[in-house]
Amino acid sequence: MVLASRDYCIKRAVPPSAAKADAPLRMDPALKIVIVDENPVRAAILVDGLREAGYIDVTWIAETTRLLARIYSLDPDVILIDLENPSRDVLAQMFQVSRAVKRPIAMFVDQSDAAAIEAAVDAGVSAYIVDGLKKGRIKGILDLCISRFNAFARLKDELERAQTALGERKVIDRAKGILMKLKNISEADAYALLRKTAMNENKKIAEVAQSVVTAAELLK
């Protein structure tokens, strides 16, 4: 990923009217949003989502060194942080009475809306807002954030499955080649043999193929 390790700032000089039609209903382009996420891909997905929705002032903080000082200098209305980030505890300090804080920050929680909190925790994201900011103004941001986090989790899952499948195919190809050479059989027969053995032993074809490859290595 060729994203700068420094704060990554995106400001678009577009009028709010240019926002796409699918923008959240309570879209509020003037809000200053900070995203704290060590995962550059997920952050990019979220930044894009917010831009598409018309939020023009979005800053991504990738590095958490001196996190609080960076946040104070940006003076955001909304802070979004991923739950895998140990620096979440640093944000707890923002609730303390301190002269370093220009505006007090509160966690986005609404005791009447347990489902929203659970959805956020499930998706792996947490939101903090300037105290006094109407919850309705950021509901759209949080919803968008949750859906983008979930989309990222699905993407990651699919990628992992694709990589596993690719790895398995390579092993099966090697095993087929070994069998074809040793037993002097066709590719189709080699595959049929792997498949039959897997069924008999109640294993995956890739596992049987791996055994063939391992055995061949040992017998070299």
Partner: protein
């Protein structure tokens, strides 16, 4: 035996030992409690997941359990602490430069926390005179003993923690890096991070936490009050069995013949995941203080389930509440004090572990905490204690 299942969150620290051993040695399963331990990266996550019911119980900073019960700094979710997972276990580490400055300014033996605190006071005053940047110290959470121990020590040296220095929250794994890169001049944190800084030559341990507060209420097992009160599921019975499993785990941990096994259980990748020797040092309270090979050993460094450490003391809850009042995290009110005390539940501990277990409380201190300076703590007079502490440090 049918098993009641529980999901319990923990932070990978040595004082999660009783939970880890109760699960991994099968004590919980033998009591009919099937526990899934969930490793977390921040106290905020542990608190939130406990609050919304993703976790049934959690390894939690004792002051955070009280803050949550009182609704300080976050949503109010009443919690109960029927078992102390650990007392003490922290240390204060300084950069070599600051340590040397204290040594030069010290009027006596730096191992005496009164001497070190006064020396720090002189260093801070001198820096102010020269117009230097204020010193910065790291701690783990606003509602943590680390925060309160640092403040207690600073205040005795005449240093106002909110005016004369900067206190910043840092996740424990980032403490060492922050000291190395001079973002902080010192920190108060639990094992293994003090030892790690010492071994890298970038820090010197100036005090064990027990030098500052002899018996500091560090971590609790916390459950939601609403969870415990659910009669349809007979939670009282489940909780008793869980506490018995923790009691057995604590005995196992304190059996010298089991030391190697305990160390290996804790060192596992899905548990604390640090080198076995560092865990052994923390459990035994024996660690290097500086690169020159000097080391120190204290049986009070960390107390897990021995010397009456596991039984929650409402006076400890009151002391933590008094710290919140003293450092202006909340207001003083009889209702809040009563709620704080009610968070710690020795009755639930006694019901599960019996009078034999509760009789094991031999500590001989003037009060329940044993601060190295200041007035003795009176849980029935928080206002007087806070005022006397201020006067003492003037």
């Amino acid at each position: 035996m049918t098993q009641d299942s529980m999901r319990i969150g923990f932070i990978p620290l040595v004082d999660a030992a009783a939970l880890i051993v109760a699960v991994d040695k099968g004590f919980a399963a033998e009591e009919g409690v099937a526990i899934e331990l969930a490793r977390e990266v921040s106290w905020s996550n542990v608190r939130d997941k406990l609050n919304i019911g993703v976790f049934d119980a959690a390894h939690l900073l004792a002051p955070l359990a009280i803050a949550s019960s009182l609704g300080i700094g976050h949503v109010k979710v009443p919690l109960l602490a029927p078992y102390m997972l650990g007392l003490n276990g922290n240390a204060i580490t300084l950069s070599p430069g600051l340590y040397d400055a204290l040594l030069a300014a010290a009027d006596g033996d730096l191992r005496n926390p009164k001497v070190s605190a006064l020396a720090l006071g002189r260093v801070v005053a001198e820096r102010r005179g020269k117009g230097a940047e204020p010193l910065t110290f790291g701690m783990t959470f606003p509602f943590s003993t680390h925060n309160y121990q640092l403040r207690f020590w600073l205040a005795v040296g005449g240093v106002d923690p909110d005016e004369d220095v900067r206190l910043v929250v840092l996740p424990p794994p980032y403490m060492v890096d922050s000291l190395a890169s001079h973002h902080v001049d010192g920190f108060c944190v639990g094992a293994p991070w003090n030892s790690v800084a010492v071994k890298l030559g970038i820090g010197r341990i100036v005090h064990f936490g027990c030098d500052i507060i002899a018996r500091a209420p560090e971590k609790v097992l916390a459950v939601r009050a609403a969870w415990a009160a659910d009669r349809t599921a007979d939670r009282a019975d489940v909780l008793q069995r869980l506490l018995r499993a923790l009691g057995r785990a604590a005995d196992f941990i304190n059996d010298p013949a089991r030391e190697d096994e305990v160390v290996l259980l804790l060192a596992a990748p899905n548990r604390v995941d640090v080198a076995p020797e560092i865990i052994r040092g923390a459990l035994n309270g024996r660690m290097p203080m500086a690169l020159d090979g000097s080391s120190r050993s204290s049986t009070d460094y960390i107390l897990i389930g021995r010397d009456g450490a596991a039984r929650p003391e409402p006076a400890h809850a009151a002391w933590l509440y008094a710290q919140m009042v003293r450092w202006k995290q909340t207001a003083l009110s009889p209702a809040l004090l009563a709620a704080a005390k009610a968070c710690f539940r020795p009755d639930l501990y006694d019901a599960a572990l019996g009078p034999a277990a509760s009789a094991k409380a031999p500590h001989k201190l003037l009060d329940s905490v044993g601060g190295f300076a200041g007035p003795p703590f009176d849980p029935d007079d928080i206002a007087g204690y806070v005022e006397a502490s201020r006067m003492h440090n003037r």
